[in-house]
Structures are given as C-alpha cells and as structure tokens.
C-alpha cells in the first residue's frame, strides 16, 4: 500500500491520516499538520487498488469508526473524523 510519509520535527505522537486526494477538508488537515511541523503518514484511499481498499475498509471498521474522510488516528488510539481543529490540537498537546 502506498503510504506517504511527511517529515516534521514534532515526532511526539504517531499520526496517521486516511484521506481522499480530491477532498478539501483532507487537504486542510494535511496542511494543518504540516504547519505545526508534525510528522505524519497518510494514505489517499481513492487512489488505492481494490485489494488495498479492502484492507483499509476492514481496518477502519474494526476500529469502530465511520468510513469517512479525513480520519485522523493519533497514537493508535485517538480517532478523529473530519477536520476538527480543536480535537486534533487537544490530542497533539
């Protein structure tokens, strides 16, 4: 699966974003993390092969969160659906 890594100096948390390449809120989320110099990984779900899509779908549903984007996962435990700035800031503090 094509996971993109965006380097940053803030490595305090493990941040992963499920996104769509066409989605403006996803772009905003990525930019937000970049501006905060947070290191993170992301995958654009709309560009995945069928096989990988199945994996991602299983992964997201097994976490009990809706299949919506962006989905931001912090330290493998905090899950935020949508670009909710306050929540992301809170989890990154």
């Amino acid at each position: 699966m094509k996971i993109q890594k965006v380097p940053g100096n803030n490595k305090k948390h493990k941040v992963f974003v499920y996104a769509l390449s066409t989605c403006a809120w996803c772009k905003k989320t990525k930019q937000f993390l970049k501006d905060k110099d947070v290191e993170y990984e992301y995958v654009d779900v709309d560009l995945l092969s069928k096989e990988d899509l199945e994996k991602v779908k299983a992964e997201i549903t097994s976490r009990g969160v809706p299949l919506q984007f962006p989905l931001i996962i912090i330290d493998d435990k905090v899950m935020i659906t949508g670009f909710r700035e306050d929540q992301i800031n809170g989890a990154l503090a």
Partner: protein
C-alpha cells in the same frame, strides 16, 4: 476534458439559482473545484470530492454534485458536507464554517466501499418479475404541495421545486401489468 473554469461556471450557476453562495475561501474553493473535475474525469460524472466514489453510477448517484444531501445540510448547518455551497450567513462571516456531519446513510457508504450493487446475477425470470427487479427498491414520490415527482429509494429531503420539507412527500403506488 472539462476545464476548471467550466466546473466553476456550472457550480456558480447552480448556486445562484438556489440562492446559495460558494465558499468564500478561494483556496478551499479551488481545491473543491479541482476535486470535482478530477472525479468527472475519473468516473464520467462529478461525484462529491469529499466522499469515496466507486465509479459505478448506481452506487454513486446520491453523491453526484449537487448531492441529495446538500439542501438540507445548507439549511441546517449553513454549508454542504464539502463546504462548497454555503448559506449567506456563512459567506458573510456571520456564522463560522464547521465540518458538517455526514448525512449519507452508512449502509450506502458501506455498499460503495465494498463495490457491491444490489443487483442479482441475471437468471431466467418471468416478465412480471423482471419489471419488479428493474425497480429495485425505487419508488415514486410526489410532493403534495406542488406535484413534483421523484423516482428514487427515499423521498428528497427538500422539494427541489417548491422547497417543501420531506414530510410533504407521499408515495405513489403503481401497479404494473406485464403482458405475455
């Protein structure tokens, strides 16, 4: 190839006809227009940039822009799910644009992500059965206020003609007679 300007013009005209505004943040707006253009090229129709689409028309038809959920979301939250269409209050900065909760039923999202259609594989059927199968959960709905008729699984949230609420829609029962 559809140009970005064409996409913009189309969306502008649509917004104007409904009394909506487009997102005042020009970068954000451009990203959305790009997304619409990408999807139109990819799938043949401009499906919602902020939702996963399959490229199978039957699975995506409720999220082709402007999607089925737009009118009710602009009314309730001041913006559609993507934030492309906004109300006057949001446009003028009197109301802050917040992420809009997803209104698309989760069963449709799951169906799309698994790429399944509800159609059964073809088999020998009597004519009468075939008529029913073609209808496939679709119903006729009419607006009691203005008479507008829609053919879809659920009634519209808001009547696109007279803006009556969903409650104004009633189902039309049809009997289909197949000869032969």
């Amino acid at each position: 190839m559809t140009s970005l300007e064409e996409v913009r013009r189309r969306v502008e005209m649509d917004a104007e006809s409904r009394g909506y505004k487009l997102n005042p943040d020009s970068y954000f707006l451009n990203d959305l227009l790009e997304g619409l253009r990408t999807n139109e090229e990819r799938y043949g129709y401009p499906s919602c940039p902020c939702r996963y689409a399959t490229g199978i028309f039957d699975l995506d038809k409720d999220i082709i822009c402007p999607c089925d959920y737009r009118d009710i979301d602009v009314e309730e939250f001041g913006a559609c799910y993507c934030g492309l269409f906004v109300s006057k209050e949001v446009y003028e900065g009197k109301k802050k644009l917040q992420p809009v909760p997803e209104r698309r039923p989760s069963k449709l999202i799951e169906r799309a992500l698994s790429g399944r259609t509800t159609k059964e594989p073809a088999h020998e059927v009597k004519k009468e059965e075939r008529v029913m199968e073609a209808i496939d959960g679709m119903k006729f709905w009419y607006c009691k206020q203005c008479g507008y008729v829609a053919f879809r699984e659920e009634p519209p949230y808001i009547c696109p003609i007279c803006k009556a609420k969903r409650e104004a829609f009633a189902e039309i029962y049809l009997s289909v007679f197949a000869k032969g």
